[in-house]
Amino acid sequence: MTTFRNSLPLKGYFFGLIALLYLPIVVLFLFSINANTYLSFPLQGLTLGWYEKLFASDALLRSARNSLVVALGSSLTATLIGTMVSLLMTRYQFRSKGLLVAMAVLPLIVPYIVLAVALLLLFSVLNIERSLLTVGVAHTVVALPYVLLIVGARLAGFDANIEEAAMDLGASYPTTLRRIVIPMIAPAMISAWLTAFTVSFDEFALALFLAGTQPTFPVYLYGQLRFANRLPIMISLAVLMMIGTLALVLIAERMRRSD
């Protein structure tokens, strides 16, 4: 493939832009081991002190736990519900199919601010106290399209005749689902689950409106931005979380591609 014989400028551009994309991440990492409370050039000294202080900060750790709870709950629910919609989408014909699929995909498109205030409105009209549950519900809805895309693609990709064969041999439909279909789409379901988890884990736009008195980590982080001297501790936790999320995403990607 040689449309342009000399690929050097293109290569330079690619790696230059990659460097630029990684710059903010490097900055965050430097910030977390920088002795000063603001990141100025040249660095005043390096420390791991922020990481130590992190484990003494109760409210911060509680917010991280909140994020974990919400992400676990919403990702499992989204995977379950999303798989149901995927099955309906690929294995059934019914009249309201278009509507159901549209409703499951639209959260990808509707601006988060609009969904956030609409849910806020719903919960306040019904007098439902805002909590981790209300955040979890919102995250389930926005994670659903991702599950649908990942699991739906897998389901569409394998032959429905295998199911017919199982049923011809006397298996009931639920048994066929349990013994044939679910094992075949399991890698896609795990990939979808991990994706849904990361979608929820650092989601901020919806959580800011719906968290109430139980902030998730991003909401807590936002609330603490005013206090410059707290920032390095927050960033140190953020760096740890970033490494964790990245590991999850890479696993999810590997599972999706291994199909």
Binding site: M1, L28, V114, L121, P174, F209
Partner: protein
């Protein structure tokens, strides 16, 4: 239990979840936008009114803000597409066996927390931030530049940065679908590389370019988090005003009307995008 019975088991939970927490909230907001004010319970009888919409339509500053937000989104999405095109081109035609690795390299920043990346820009652009302190250190400037943070340019810079990996994906997909035999045929017929690019590569990758544009443009118009963090009061977008009406200003009916305008605008954009783009290509 047969297929039919299983249908209901599969059908009811998603319907209930999406109905209760997606469709009904949006419908509720639609109804709420016809309230004249926030007095009295929602469930008591109240007179529907068009007050919020007439106020919205007659106040020029809201339209101006919507226009500015759309214009910002336009600049951001065009910049992101133009900057991503060479990246996609490089991966598609020069990546060879390393193409997969290059793609992951590009996507890793995108997979790390959005909020954190935006915050990193705040740390870089601030008056005591990385850029200012570096410029002061090398004596290029005597006073820290205040123009870097808390304005629309900061918002646009940050969002272009955030969207580049996203914009690359559909362009890359379109480029990878081009049949290499076309280039050979063109070369045999004497087309120079620049003509091959203009006559083959560019036209055939246009669907990907268009998809990339909409994938960036649509979410950017509704953005409120990035302006909140790096935009300050001078960098506000339409979404921030909606947020204000639901928090500080506490005028929910008006905020609802503003949200309905944004929702309608978004759906129109999506309808246009779906018409122009083959969505099935994107799902691969």
């Amino acid at each position: 239990m047969d297929r039919r019975a299983t249908f209901w088991v599969l059908y009811l939970p998603p319907l209930l979840l999406l109905g209760a927490f997606f469709l009904i909230p949006l419908l509720l907001m639609f109804v709420y936008s016809f309230r004249a004010d926030m007095h009295g319970s929602f469930f008591q009888l109240w007179q529907p009114s068009l007050n919020q919409y007439t106020k919205l339509i007659s106040t020029g500053s809201y339209w101006r803000l919507l226009g500015v937000s759309s214009l910002m989104a336009l600049v951001i999405s065009i910049s992101a597409v133009v900057l991503s095109y060479p990246i996609a081109y490089f991966i598609a035609f020069y990546g060879r066996q390393r193409a997969g690795f290059y793609l992951v390299l590009l996507l890793v920043p995108f997979w790390t927390s959005y909020l954190l990346r935006v915050m990193a820009w705040k740390i870089m652009l601030g008056t005591e931030g990385v850029i200012n302190s570096f410029l002061l250190y090398i004596n290029l400037i005597q006073e820290p530049l205040t123009a870097l943070l808390y304005n629309r340019n900061a918002v646009m810079l940050t969002l272009i940065y955030v969207w580049i990996p996203v914009a690359t994906l559909p362009i890359l997909a379109a480029l990878q679908r081009i049949d290499i035999a076309l280039f050979e045929a063109a070369a045999d017929l004497g087309a120079r590389p620049i003509h091959q690019f203009l006559r083959i590569t560019l036209p055939l990758s246009l669907p990907g370019v268009l998809a990339a544009f909409f994938m960036v443009f649509i979410p950017t118009v509704g953005e409120y988090v990035t302006p909140l963090l790096v935009g300050g009061s001078r960098g506000s977008m339409y979404g921030n005003i909606i947020q204000d009406f639901f928090t500080k200003a506490a005028n929910w009916p008006f905020g609802s009307a503003m949200s309905m305008v944004m929702l309608a605008g978004t759906l129109i954009l999506v309808a246009i995008a779906v018409r122009l783009i083959n969505v099935r290509d994107l799902l691969e």
